[in-house]
């Protein structure tokens, strides 16, 4: 009897609690919730948000999170169907497909995409409906030490043969000749351009093809360069480990995304005088000259937004031409074409960087990773192939078998998500 009473008591108590929740009034009008990433563009927006609030009368509650936290938070909120987010920053290549498939992005059919490269918009499009506004781009470049090149009498390499020779010549006196990410999953994006330049790819028509002879050559070459001329412990290094090595002057060449230039030349963060640091395009390979150039960040609306009009108004403001120019002047490479055409911008930006962007925009490939829903797992699988290549300095005899095994596993992932083969 006591037990029944206790259960009844608990049930009745919880009713009271839930009833309270249900009677809560809906969100006040014209108030939106925005999730930003800890990203320079987010930093740029934050102090300007009060201006937007004054202008539009919309109250903006924003929060700023580190990117993996942001993804986790968005996923939790959307998956439970109780999200209160209206507008958020998003990584199209990392989470775009999954979010689109789950119907988490709101349609942006009303947004004007005229000022964006078509390819960048298409990545966030499904069945003709666009879902992501491209915000920030990045492409692969090669940072190098002009002073060390001069001292060793080496010219900036323009193809992979010269690159290897230069790496060899520059590896001395405790300085590593060449560095790029070696840590499995993190390296997937940086090795991509090498694989493209050998004529390979990760996926073709949504089938894993990174076990092709061309791709394997890419893995081997990358492994050979890093294994022989990379800094110690390269197989566990990502950008956050490599950048300090370069800034400390212990690395002669470093290939990674363009976003790092600002920090590499910042005198409060680096030991190397800015005039000794050069930026060049990635050398061409035997079968191609296509560095990746990708939309690393975009902005989107939630399909569950209770205030879609206010959300769209905020989105229009946050991705406007004026702010894009401001972003460019703060060294953030923006997606908008008009921002690159702006005269003030061109005058103020690093000329070498502009040249690499022009090259990448013309020849580059718009993906730096397998474009699929299970991209995280696929990166882990490909990462194992990369680490094997580096550990053996590119000589591994089991590399083809390993790549085939991992390609099969990636195909299984594609099949599980219903994405295998064709569009």
């Amino acid at each position: 009897m006591k037990r029944i009473l206790a259960v009844l008591l608990i049930v009745s108590l919880s009713f009271v609690v839930f009833a309270q929740g249900a009677s809560e009034a809906p969100a006040k009008q014209q108030e939106i919730r925005v999730l930003l990433a800890n990203h320079p563009y987010g930093e740029l927006l934050k102090p300007l948000i009060p201006e937007f609030e004054a202008q539009s009368g919309i109250k903006v509650n924003y929060e700023s999170l580190q990117e993996s936290q942001l993804t986790q938070k968005l996923t939790t909120e959307f998956a439970t169907g109780s999200s209160t987010v209206d507008v958020f920053m998003t990584r199209p290549l990392q989470e775009g497909l999954l979010f689109i498939k789950n119907g988490w992005y709101g349609s942006l059919a009303k947004y004007d995409f005229g000022d964006y490269p078509a390819a960048s918009v298409d990545l966030g499009r499904k069945d003709g409906v666009p879902y992501i506004v491209p915000l920030v781009i990045e492409w692969q470049v090669m940072y190098y030490r002009k002073d060390l090149f001069k001292k060793a009498g080496v010219k900036v390499p323009t193809n992979f043969v010269e690159l290897e020779a230069a790496a060899k010549a520059l590896t001395k006196d405790g300085v590593a000749g060449f560095g790029s990410r070696g840590k499995g999953a993190a390296a997937v994006t940086q090795i991509s351009s090498f694989i493209y330049n050998f004529g390979g790819n990760y996926l073709e028509n949504n089938v894993a093809v990174f076990d092709s002879p061309e791709a394997l050559e890419g893995f081997r070459y990358y492994g050979r360069l890093l294994g022989n001329y990379g800094p110690q412990g390269i197989a566990s290094m990502s950008w956050e480990n490599l950048m300090p090595v370069f800034q400390a002057g212990k690395l002669a060449m470093w290939t990674d995304a363009s976003v790092f230039l600002g920090q590499v030349v910042d005198p409060t963060k680096t030991n190397i005088p800015a005039e000794d640091i050069g930026v060049a395009q990635l050398p061409a390979g035997p079968n191609g000259d296509s560095p990746f150039i990708v939309t690393s960040w975009g902005m989107a609306m939630s399909s569950k937004s209770k205030n879609p009009d206010a959300a769209l108004q905020f989105l229009n403001w946050a991705t406007s031409k004026e702010l894009a120019v401001k972003g460019m002047l703060a060294n953030i490479p923006m997606s908008r074409d008009s921002a690159w055409a702006n005269d003030t911008v061109r005058k103020n930006m690093n000329a070498e960087l502009i040249a690499t962007q022009a090259h990448a925009a013309k020849n580059g490939y718009p993906l730096d990773r397998p474009f699929m829903s299970a991209v995280g797992q696929a990166r882990d699988l490909i990462g194992e192939v990369i680490v094997e290549a580096i550990d053996t300095k590119g000589t591994s005899t089991r590399l083809p078998a390993l790549a085939t095994e991992k390609a099969k596993a990636v195909n299984e992932l594609l099949k599980a998500d219903g994405e295998y083969g064709g569009k």
Binding site: V17, F18, Q20, G21, A22, E24, A37, N38, H39, P40, G42, E43, N61, Y62, E63, S64, L65, Q66, E67, Q69, Q72, K73, T76, E77, A79, T80, G81, S82, S83, T84, W239, E240, P244, V245, Q247, A248, G249, K250, A257, V259, F260, Q263, T268, K269, T270, N271, S296, W297
Partner: protein, 271 residues
């Protein structure tokens, strides 16, 4: 043997050899908190450098660190308080009435991966309009603190001789009265241990706070990530923030460790 020369020289050396690898990361962290970014990345590492307070300035002036500190304290103290309120009687009952199954269930709640609670919690809290409130965070942190309290205290209560309670009851006290007036005061050392441990677990918790808190209720461990952004890590800021977060936890442990040890040597058996 204890006074042999070998022992007198060898033992301290052994201690140093064991302690240095353990404490080195902390020393490194502490030093880095006072370094500029250039000094942090320089190779070979610098052990002599001119210290700077830039990083701490960033932590306390540019970031809203005092707010996060306040949040962490409120959540930790409240969660531990509620856990003691519920956990002490529960532990007593488990110890006295051998409710092994109940204690297993509480342990299972602790052993289950925390993430499996997050989704249901998120749904419930957001429907209740409790997101970004202390209530939600405190409730979630009780899950961390309560099992610790129950498990430490139930074994502690078991070690308190039954006779003491019985003699109180012979003198006319109810079992509840015996628990409050006799058992609890005897168990202070155990309570202190449970409190310290559960507070530190709550203080360090990352996952629950990450999903259930927002700007206003963000706790310290989440705030460390404010120094890590896309393609940039402010190591000095991270280190300074970590030092600021760890200091209270370390002080707490150091102060109460003495107390716990003293309490244990006094021993309840003597009574």
């Amino acid at each position: 043997m204890k006074n042999s020369l070998k022992f007198r020289v060898g033992f301290p050396l052994l201690i140093v050899a064991i302690v240095i690898p353990m404490i080195f990361p902390f020393i490194w962290m502490f030093m880095s908190a006072f370094k500029t970014q250039v000094d942090i990345i320089s190779w070979p590492p610098k052990f002599l450098f001119s210290p700077t307070l830039v990083n701490f300035n960033k932590v306390f002036n540019e970031q809203n660190f005092l707010l996060y500190l306040k949040n962490s304290i409120i959540v930790g103290v409240a969660a531990v308080f509620v856990s003691l309120l519920l956990g002490l009687p529960a532990a007593y009952s488990i110890a006295r009435f051998k409710q092994k199954r109940l204690s297993m269930m509480i342990l299972v709640a602790r052993l289950m991966p925390g993430i499996s609670f997050l989704m249901p919690w998120y749904i419930v809290f957001s429907r209740l309009g409790l997101m970004d409130s202390y209530t939600a965070l405190i409730l979630s942190h009780i899950l961390i603190a309560l099992p610790v309290v129950v498990w430490i205290m139930s074994s502690y209560f078991e070690s308190v001789p039954m006779e003491m309670e019985e003699s109180a009851m012979v003198d006319g006290a109810t079992q509840q009265r015996a628990f409050v007036s006799i058992i609890l005061p005897l168990s202070v050392p155990g309570i202190v241990t449970a409190t310290t441990l559960s507070f530190i677990f709550s203080w360090n918790n990352f996952m629950f706070s990450q999903v259930l808190s927002m700007e206003k209720t963000r706790t310290l461990p989440i705030a460390v990530y404010n120094f890590m952004s896309y393609a940039e890590v402010d190591w000095g800021g991270v280190m300074a923030a970590t030092v600021a977060i760890m200091t209270p936890a370390i002080i707490l442990t150091m102060v109460f460790q003495k107390y716990v040890v003293k309490g244990l040597t006094m021993g309840a058996v003597k009574g």
